[in-house]
Amino acid sequence: MTKQLWKGNEAVAEAAIRAGCEAYFGYPITPQTELLEYMSWRMPQVGRVFLQAESEVGAINMVYGAACAGRRVMSSSSSPGVSLMMEGLSYIAASDVPAVLVNVMRGGPGLGNIHPAQSDYFQAVKFGGHGDYHPIVLAPASVQEAIELTALSFDLAEKYRHVVIEVLDGSIGQMMEPAEMPEMQPVRLERPAWALTGATERPKNVISSIRIDSEGLEAHNLHLQDKLAHIRGCEVRYKEYWLDDADLVLVAYGTAGRIALSAIRQARAEGLRVGLLRPVTLYPFPTERLARLAKQAQAFLVVEMSAGQMLEDVRLAVEGRAPVRFYGRMGGAVPMPDEIFEVVRGLCYALRPPKPSGNGHHPARRPQPEDPGPQGAD
């Protein structure tokens, strides 16, 4: 199979179809719309269900319905639309049914703009709905990876009967890259035993998220927590670059991750010992790997297209064993490689005093004349 030039959004759509996605429900929103539009012709072409919902609330509850029927089903949206899905996602999560959602994140809060952003990390990873819950969250950094993670999303959703959110920032949705598309998988025809397919020759199935007594709901929550613990144990994925001898470890995902990579190349060319950990799963988070790195590295630099959200998970992993610094852009602004390189260089020079003596964390702020930006360890 040769490579083709794919737009991220369309690649995700085609990848979903090839992974056997049987139904798509969605609502237009930039910068996600090409995904829906692609589905609108491609799903009928392969005899599957495409329906444009009346809203994101409608869409996620249609997903819920089709998921209850034991179908591979997905929706996609962008930040404000995803916010509207919080209740529905909480229901889906509570019901142990598999579902896949793609959030092509844009600048917020509010209506914001349509430029790429990563400011829905908390919403996805900590979970913006009510109740104790974390979706599995995947974050590709290229079109090829988006294709692979889309297939993985369906597999994980099904394996764990769980909600999977794939977060792209707008630029991965919009960019074109050469990528290889996997073969078309056959749609799985037998339905899971729990699916709502009519009580033919079996006792009725009920899918519900109400458990009126606290004993029952607590037991159910313990089951959900067990599932999450299992997921944390088995499904951590990340990519490493130049970590072997790194004094300074950058942590960045998605587009920020590949921009960081450019900056690191520049830094390595100058002989600076810098590496990158790029989480591919945001939940489960590569906490252990970071904890190990915390013993080796002298400092961490988290780069996000947000005010610093993943930053907290990095700090939770590092637990004060090394300073964790932050560089972020917001509101649809994308950091440029040279910008990050400057920060990296500054940090590396400040690291010369070999022992980190503290743990500073600057609030998210782009460097400005009056603000020298992130400084060395202090």
């Binding site: 269900v49 609330v57 819920y64 998921a67 029927a69 397919t197 033919t200 009920v206 519900s208």
Partner: protein
């Protein structure tokens, strides 16, 4: 007399689970559950029927009927039913929804399911109040009716006029059937059942969304005895919500 034998002329339908309900005494959700169960039995569709329960007093309907069930988020049953039905058009899918569920928070979902002509059956139980949460004003609460959130009676100047769902949805081309029934006496109960049967038939014939609005009593939140509640329904609800056929598509008569 030798050729006489005792036969059962009325018993629980099979689709009604052999259990008691947690409804209040005199709550006619129970009656409506039974009618649906009888229709499912009579049409022989139990094994391919999937119900979608609302959030409301009837959230536990899945305990009372022996068919596959999903419980939707408050108001979203039509969307959930859309998802279920679109991926398995051969199944029979119905939603069961209260007036808070369908006519307040879920108006968008029912309206668009109707507009799209989703091939589902909707049983809409209008008891003019939010039963489950303790009797607040619903969109269908009558003018002047006192509830826990309209304590001096619904004031149409402030809260607007009650919503007539069967009439509102009837004109939509996607709707095959839209009628209103009541369960306050045996005759009306029988008519309600007939309508429910027609609404399922419409789905079996692939005609689009079929809705039966059923006036139902909530003695608890109306602060009336069960018997008085049925009288109140007949006296106060019927005039504003006339029992009638607002749309019967050709082929359903």
């Amino acid at each position: 007399m030798t050729d006489m034998q005792e036969t059962v002329v009325f018993q629980r339908p099979e689709t009604l689970e052999d259990t008691y309900t947690n409804y209040c005494p005199g709550c006619t959700h129970g009656t409506i559950h039974r009618l649906i169960a009888e229709v499912i039995d009579e049409l022989g569709i139990r094994e391919r029927t999937i119900g979608v329960a609302p959030v409301g007093c009837s959230v536990f309907i899945y305990n009372y009927q022996n068919v596959d069930f999903a419980v939707a988020a408050h108001g979203r049953a039509p969307a959930m039913a859309t998802g279920i039905k679109r991926v398995q058009p051969d199944k029979v899918v119905f939603t069961y929804q209260g007036d808070g569920d369908l006519a307040a928070i879920g108006t968008n979902e029912i309206l668009h399911a109707a507009s799209r002509g989703e091939n589902i059956t909707v049983i809409f139980v209008n008891n003019a109040t939010y039963g489950m949460t303790g009797g607040q004003m619903a969109p269908t609460t009558l003018p002047g009716q006192k509830t826990t959130s309209s304590p001096s009676g619904r004031d149409v100047e402030i809260q607007g006029w009650p919503m007539r769902v069967a009439e509102l949805l009837a004109p939509l081309p996607g709707v095959s059937y839209s009628v209103r029934r009541s369960i306050h006496d045996p005759r009306h109960i029988n008519n309600a059942k007939k309508a429910i049967r027609t609404a399922f038939r419409a789905q079996l014939d692939g005609m689009g969304l079929a809705l039966v609005e059923i006036l139902s009593a909530c003695p608890t939140n109306w602060h009336l005895t069960p018997v008085a509640a049925l009288e109140w329904l007949a006296k106060h609800m019927l005039p504003y919500y006339p029992v009638g056929d607002y749309k019967i598509s050709e082929g359903l008569q």
